[in-house]
Amino acid sequence: MQSCWFGDVDNGKCIPFSGDAAAYARRVREIRTSMDALVPPDWKIAAACGICRDRAEYLSLLQKVCIAGSEQAVREQYAAKDVELLQMVRTLDEMDTVINVLSERVADWYQIRHPSFSRKYRRTPAHMLVKSVSERGGGGALGKVATGITGLSDTRTALAKEVSARACEVMPNTSALIGGLVAARLLSHAGGLKALSRLPASTIQVIGARTALFMHIRTRAPAPKHGIIFQHRRVHNAPREVRGKVARVLAGKLAIAARLDFYRGSVVPEFIEKAQARIDLAGTVQGDDKQ
C-alpha cells in the first residue's frame, strides 16, 4: 500500500482522505514512506479518487496543503524556547560592538574639539568619557551622539539582565554552572540547544576560540585551552597552571548539563552539586584529576 497526501492507494484502489488543508498537512507528517519502493503521487489517481476534477484543482489543493504544513512547521520551530534567546544574546553581543566602536569615535571627536585634552594619565575609559560628553556636550551633534550611546548602554544593561534570566529558564543546568550570560553565548555559538547538547565536551571547551584553534591545526601554535568559557570566573580566576584543567573539567560538566537541559528541561540539583564540587576541586593546584 502506498500512502500519499490525498489518500491511501492499494492495488489501484484508493481510499481518499478528507479534511481541511491543515488536516492534510498533519497527515503528511504522519505518513512513513520508504524510499526503496517509492511510487510518487499522481494527480490522475487523485482525480479517480474524487479528490479533484482536473490538474489545476489538484495543484491548487496541494498548494494549500503545502502552505499550511510549512506555516505550521515554521510556527513550531519558532515556538521552541531557545529561538528567541538566540536572537537576544546575538543582539546583546552586537550592541557591545556598536557601543565600543561609537565610544571610541566620540572620544576621538571630543579630542578635536578640545585640542589640549589628552586621555593619558587619566585612566578614563571611553564609556566614562562618553558619559561626561553627553552631560556637558551641549546641543550639538557630538552631545546627541554621546547621549545616544549612553541610552544604548542602558538598554544593553537591561537586555543583559533579560538574557541572563531567560537563559536560566531555558537552560537551567548549564546556567547554574557558568551563569546565564555565558551559557547563552555558548548557545548562540552552537546555534541552538539541540546543537549544543550534541557537541562533545572538547568542542564546548574551545567554542569561541576559532582563530586560535585553526592556527593550532595549521601551524605549530599551542592548542587553545578555553574559548567562551574563559569568561566564567572559575576559569579566568584560576591560577595559570591549572586553568586548562579547570576549563576541561568545566567543559565536560557543561556537555552533560546541556544534555540534561535539552532532554530533561528541568534543573537537576544533585548533578549541579556534584559538578560544582568537581570543578572547584580542579581549581585547586593539588586537585586530584581522577576523582
Binding site: V28, M35, P40, D42, L59, S70, Y78
Partner: protein
C-alpha cells in the same frame, strides 16, 4: 529561455525581490541566481511550460520565482524556517510554487507530496551534495534532467575546488548518471560549479 538582447528574463509578476523589469519581463540576475549564471555561461536544459521541477534548497524563493515563471509547477524544499517565511510569501502569490519545509537529505519527509518530476535542481550548502542528489533521484523520471550546483567551499574547505568538482563528477558517473555539461560559474559566482546530467535509467 527568453532573452532580451543579452539579458536573461522571465515572464511573470514582478517585485518579488526588487528585480529590474525590462519590457514587462523580469530580469533574472546571474549574480544573484546560480541558475541564471548557468544559462549565461553554459547552455543548461531548456525550461518549458509543462515541466515539473523539484527544487532542493529553495532559500528565499528568488530563483524559485523565476523558475516558476517558466514551468508548470515547482516543488520547493527548504530546511531553514527563516528563508521559508519569504518562500511562503512567494508561494502565496504564485499558484505553481509548493513550499515544503523539510530536509533534502531525508526525502521520505516530502515523498507523500512530490510527484514524478522532469527536472531535479539542487542548490544546497551541504558537504554530501552528491549523496543528497542520489537519494532524490527516485522523484526524477527516466530521461529527466538533473542540475547540481556544487558549492565547493561548502563541501570541504581544505580541498581544491577543482578536486571536489572532479570527485563529484566521478561519484555521479559511478551511479550510471550521464553528465552532459559541467561548467564553472565564473565570473558570476566564485568556486561554484554547475553539473547538468540526464537520468537514463533509475539509480
Amino acid at each position: 529561455m527568453i532573452h532580451i538582447g543579452e539579458v536573461l528574463v522571465s515572464k511573470g509578476e514582478g517585485g518579488v525581490y526588487g528585480e529590474r523589469m525590462l519590457d514587462g519581463y523580469r530580469v533574472w540576475d546571474p549574480y544573484r541566481s546560480k541558475l541564471a549564471a548557468l544559462y549565461l555561461v553554459g547552455t543548461g536544459p531548456e525550461l518549458v511550460p509543462d515541466m515539473k521541477v523539484l527544487y532542493l534548497g529553495a532559500a528565499n524563493g528568488t530563483t524559485v520565482s523565476h523558475v516558476a515563471d517558466y514551468v508548470e509547477v515547482v516543488y520547493a524544499v527548504e530546511f531553514a524556517p527563516r528563508p521559508m517565511q519569504d518562500l511562503l510569501e512567494v508561494a502565496r502569490r504564485r499558484k505553481n510554487v509548493m513550499p515544503i519545509l523539510a530536509d533534502a537529505s531525508s526525502p521520505e519527509q516530502y515523498a507523500p507530496l512530490v510527484e514524478t518530476v522532469d527536472l531535479l535542481y539542487q542548490d544546497v550548502a551541504q558537504p554530501d551534495q552528491a549523496a543528497i542528489v542520489l537519494r532524490n533521484c527516485a522523484f526524477l523520471k527516466t530521461g529527466g534532467h538533473l542540475i547540481l550546483m556544487l558549492k565547493t567551499r561548502s563541501v570541504d574547505i581544505r580541498k581544491k575546488p577543482e578536486q571536489i568538482f572532479q570527485d563529484t563528477l566521478d561519484i555521479l558517473m559511478s551511479f550510471g548518471i550521464t553528465v552532459c555539461e559541467s561548467t564553472w560559474l565564473a565570473p558570476y559566482h566564485q568556486d561554484h560549479a554547475a553539473i547538468v546530467c540526464t537520468l537514463d535509467h533509475p539509480v
